[in-house]
Symmetry: C2
Subunit: 311 residues, 2 copies
């Protein structure tokens, strides 16, 4: 049990999840709360009450400042933190954080990033903070951040120069829940084994022939009907096809990296992407996503002036 008093609080407020931490001056976790009160559940106008509820439950002082990243800063969120355009240095993004008005407590929301490229428009909110906490050394990095909407990001000497969102997780989810494939995959809830031969062969097939994604999907259903393929293999096949196509498309976009890809992920998703990236012949440097977002929020708190920058 720690008796150290917190220097600031931090919140990762996504579309479906909220996590709040009390952190020491050096970024150690003193307390943590997790809830399903994401953007969708917090609508409308309940953001302040939800945040105060979790802070009170952890015994946070009334004047403890809070740094927030994620969808809370979207137009349909709490207070809009307008996108910063790329190229953007990670430190400059945090300096553009927006203070929530009319609160006794200082709460600042980190902006997202926008790629205002007519041919490849793109946005992110939350991943910019994970990037800052990923401990990237100088030089050029290709970062893979898997999720509902995976982000692939080019970072050069601390500057985000380009990125690409891929709806891999959401494709898996909507196809498993709402398409004819649900009769083969048994729904989306059960997991995928990254060691399953069905996953590996689907990743390799998609990497070898990435343009065939649309034609391979129905084969999952046909294999159930004609070959008696089971639900676990069908899920593994769908997941492998989507991940393989994601990796192929992003390597096409960003080029094959000459140093390890930085994989920012946790748990089962990390294991799946590590396996798929390995099948693509890529070497990895793995960063835990939960650690990265906390470190990034600490970095954001310093840049926003919520805690001293020297600590």
């Amino acid at each position: 049990v720690r008796s150290e008093s917190p220097a600031f609080a931090a919140a990762d407020w996504g579309t479906t999840r909220l996590r709040v931490w009390l952190l020491s001056r050096t970024g150690d976790v003193l307390a943590e709360r997790r809830s399903d009160e994401g953007l969708l559940a917090a609508q409308p106008d309940r953001f302040a009450a939800i945040l105060e509820h979790h802070l009170a439950a952890m015994g946070a002082p009334a004047d403890l400042p809070v740094i927030v990243c994620g969808m809370a800063g979207a137009r349909q969120g709490w207070v809009e933190a307008p996108y910063v355009g790329v190229s953007a240095a990670l430190g400059d993004i945090f300096a553009a954080s927006v203070r929530v008005p009319d609160l006794a407590r200082e709460v600042r929301i980190v902006p997202g990033l926008a790629q205002r490229d007519a041919a490849a428009p793109d946005v992110m909110r939350g991943e910019e903070t994970q990037l800052a906490g990923a401990g990237l050394a100088e030089g050029s990095h290709l970062v893979c951040m898997p999720g509902t909407h995976s982000k692939w990001v080019r970072v050069e000497d601390g500057v985000v120069t380009a990125f690409q969102t891929v709806m891999t997780g959401e494709l898996f989810s909507v196809l498993s829940a709402h398409s004819i494939l649900r009769h083969s995959t048994g729904g989306e809830a059960a997991g995928v084994d990254p060691g399953a031969p069905a996953f590996r062969s689907a990743v390799l097939a998609a990497l070898a022939e990435p343009a065939a994604l649309e034609t391979r999907l129905f084969r999952i259903r046909a294999a159930t009907l004609l070959q008696g393929t089971g639900e676990a293999d069908a899920r593994a096949g769908l997941s492998g096809l989507l991940l393989g196509a994601e990796i192929a498309a992003c390597l096409q976009r960003f080029g094959h990296p000459d140093r390890p890809i930085v994989l920012v992920a946790s748990g089962a998703l990390r294991d799946l992407y590590a396996a798929a990236l390995g099948l693509a012949g890529l070497s990895l440097s793995s960063v835990d996503a939960d650690v990265a977002v906390r470190r990034g929020l600490e970095c954001a708190a310093r840049h926003a002036g919520l805690i001293p920058s020297g600590a």
Copy 2:
């Protein structure tokens, strides 16, 4: 008003729709009924009652034979008509039709086709009947049959040698209804204008870079946020991406045809595919899907012995 008495009845019984016709000995339509009592609504054990209801409403005699194609012959349908494997001559498929047992009336269900290829398993039910009614001349044809699950079929001298299902229509539907893209497309109900520049440019982009499908989808959402793209353009963009990727993948699979592609479609879907296939530089021979299924059912009725083969 025709007073001719019908020679047989025909039904196209799909997953969501049922159409029943009374037809003359030469295939002229004497009466027609359409309903939403597809496979999903007819479950369980209501097939006979539904069919008799529609036949009675059209005044069909009690001994009029009926030929049926589509999902009614699936395992989860009325009576299973086991798949015929490809390669298969269209006439042989119909000779394998299955009689529904324990009915006073003779009702026969046309089997579907199965491609029992370990690398490309595939199935169809209903399209084999449209193919028979498409009036294909001798020689080799590539046939495109758009729909919820589009079918691309190689037919050589009346023999189906290979086919490929593409879930294009279902992808459009689930992404428009259930993914984050629904906030951009305004749902799936409204149509797509095949002449819209957003449709044309999306088709061309997908044809030029078919491996990038997964990375292009989220740009539809980003374009709404950053560029103010409207719902009609977002729908056109999504439709164009999916159709362009379908065409590119199927040309990769079957090769660029040296004679016109046979497009079997009706209405708005025909217009969309005709535009997209034209952008791919393909020439077309267009067959109305509604006419094709009736002609195919007439052909099936002859092969199944329900009407004389000489007429």
